[in-house]
């Protein structure tokens, strides 16, 4: 883990180990608050602040916390950041704080954050830990924005509140309800695995398969079948 470059540390969280799309972590906010793009942005920003702040702090204090109580310590640090975010949001963006409701305090139990603290920040120095947390936050934001865009466009016909679908578009109300979250996430994950498998098949195609004597390879058979 420690022989990776900073760029790799960052990009791994964004794509290769995307917290939502690959690790399937932090699904509660992913499903619950992505019914509009601005809710998704607010949740992404709040979570990014908590994960970067707590990873940085965990990395700084890791040598002073006995390993027996490290989990309680990390949760305490994360909970403090979440409470601070909740208060700041209520003071600065009251309508956003109202829209996200109980899901801001629930960032505490987003296992993605404790995951980064335990798996990376507790074993690495400050800068790599911040990079790792930023990458994970970026990956989380991408997933949330993807969900939010699909659900808002189909469910309300708008993007960031601006009408993008034709006016005779009948909004799919189910998309902004909880089932729409599951449907969208399912479709995105299906798309992801299709993408990965497609890549694997391409790799196989490089080495042509040897067929038993007398059997022609499928690509040779195709023209006859068309004809």
């Amino acid at each position: 883990m420690t022989d990776r470059t900073g760029r790799e540390v960052f990009l791994r969280g964004v794509w290769e180990e995307n917290p939502v799309l690959v690790q399937i972590l932090g699904l509660c906010p992913t499903l619950a608050v992505t019914n509009s793009v601005d809710n998704a942005i607010a949740m992404a920003l709040a979570t990014a602040f908590v994960i970067v702040g707590s990873s940085a702090l965990v990395s700084l204090v890791k040598d002073y916390i006995p390993s027996q109580v490290r989990m309680s310590g990390y949760i305490l640090i994360i909970a403090t950041f979440v409470t601070v975010v909740d208060l700041i949001m209520g003071a600065v963006a009251p309508s956003m704080s109202k829209a996200l409701g109980a899901f801001v305090p629930l960032i505490v139990v987003n296992c993605m954050i404790l995951g980064r603290a335990e798996a990376f920040a507790s074993k690495n120095r400050l800068l790599p830990s911040i990079l790792d947390a930023t990458g994970t936050a970026a990956g989380f934001s991408i997933a949330l924005l993807l969900m939010g865009s699909v659900r808002e466009i189909l469910g309300s016909g708008t993007f960031l509140g601006i009408q993008v679908m034709p006016h005779n578009w009948e909004p799919w109300v189910i998309m902004i309800l909880p089932p729409g979250g599951f449907l969208t996430l399912g479709a995105i994950l299906m798309g992801m695995s299709w993408w990965w498998q497609r890549g694997e098949k391409k790799d196989e195609a490089v080495k042509p398969r040897r067929w038993p004597h007398g059997v022609r390879a499928p690509e040779e058979r195709r023209p006859e079948m068309v004809a």
Binding site: D3, I65, P66, S67, I77, G90, A91
Partner: protein, 235 residues
């Protein structure tokens, strides 16, 4: 971010103390004393507490200011832009200018008396709430005790179904159906006839009924106290 900068980070990470990777970070060696464990968490808690108190001190006045502004705007909306308003309390069926000492605010109900520019009272804004289809619906409505009429209604908080029940906050025909209706209110299917009737929203019977019930129940609770008070000049 440049690559060589990233390399420097990686080197920094490689040289960090990393004795047994499996057990995570922390102080290694023999079993530390319980005092050290408790002490570490106590220090962390104190630091966390101080940080939260500092942020709370900065944020709380702003959060309360937002709430007050929201309430003021709602009161002005449901009373038809009065010049000023005063908070009154209804405790045990009596209208009081302020909450008596020793009475908890949950024992009484606040109402807001609105006055026009010439000093006559336009009516009371009455907040009320009740569980709707999904979650508690909170609303405020203006009430004119002289004619027993509703002046206006505004839903403050609801999580009703988007596209159906959520229309109680957005459907202007439904919202303005309450303007001038005489209590007690009776929800009907289109069209509303007579002074007591309002049109309910098609497909959102539960949410519509909830709004009507909140107004009727609130008036049952505070109406008698308010009805005997009209014509007053206010303080």
């Amino acid at each position: 971010m440049s690559t060589d900068q990233g390399d420097r980070h990686a080197k920094g990470a490689a040289t960090s103390p990393n004795g047994s990777a499996a057990s995570g970070g922390g102080v290694r060696g023999s079993q530390p004393s319980s005092l050290l464990l408790v002490g570490t968490l106590a220090v962390l808690s104190v630091v966390a507490g101080i940080a939260i108190v500092l942020v709370h001190g900065w944020a709380q006045p702003r959060i309360e200011a937002h709430r007050a502004a929201e309430l003021r705007q709602a009161i002005e909306e449901v009373l038809g832009e009065p010049q000023r308003y005063e908070t009154r309390w209804v405790v045990d069926g009596k209208l009081l200018d302020s909450l008596p000492a020793g009475v908890d605010s949950s024992a009484g109900r606040p109402v807001y008396a609105g006055y026009a520019a010439d000093g006559h009272m336009v009516g009371y804004a009455v907040p009320g709430q009740k569980p709707g289809y999904q979650d508690v619906v909170k609303l405020i409505f203006g009430y004119d005790p002289a004619d027993r009429k509703v002046i206006g209604m505004k839903v403050l908080e609801s999580k009703e179904t988007p596209g159906l029940g959520a229309k109680i906050t957005s459907d202007s025909a439904f919202i303005h159906g309450f303007d001038g209706v005489v209590a007690p209110i009776d929800g009907v299917k289109h069209p509303a006839q007579g002074p007591h009737q309002v049109d309910m929203i098609t497909g959102a019977t539960i949410s519509s009924t909830t709004v009507i019930t909140i107004i009727n129940q609130s008036l049952e609770a505070v109406g008698p106290a308010l009805d005997g008070s009209h014509g007053g000049e206010g303080s």
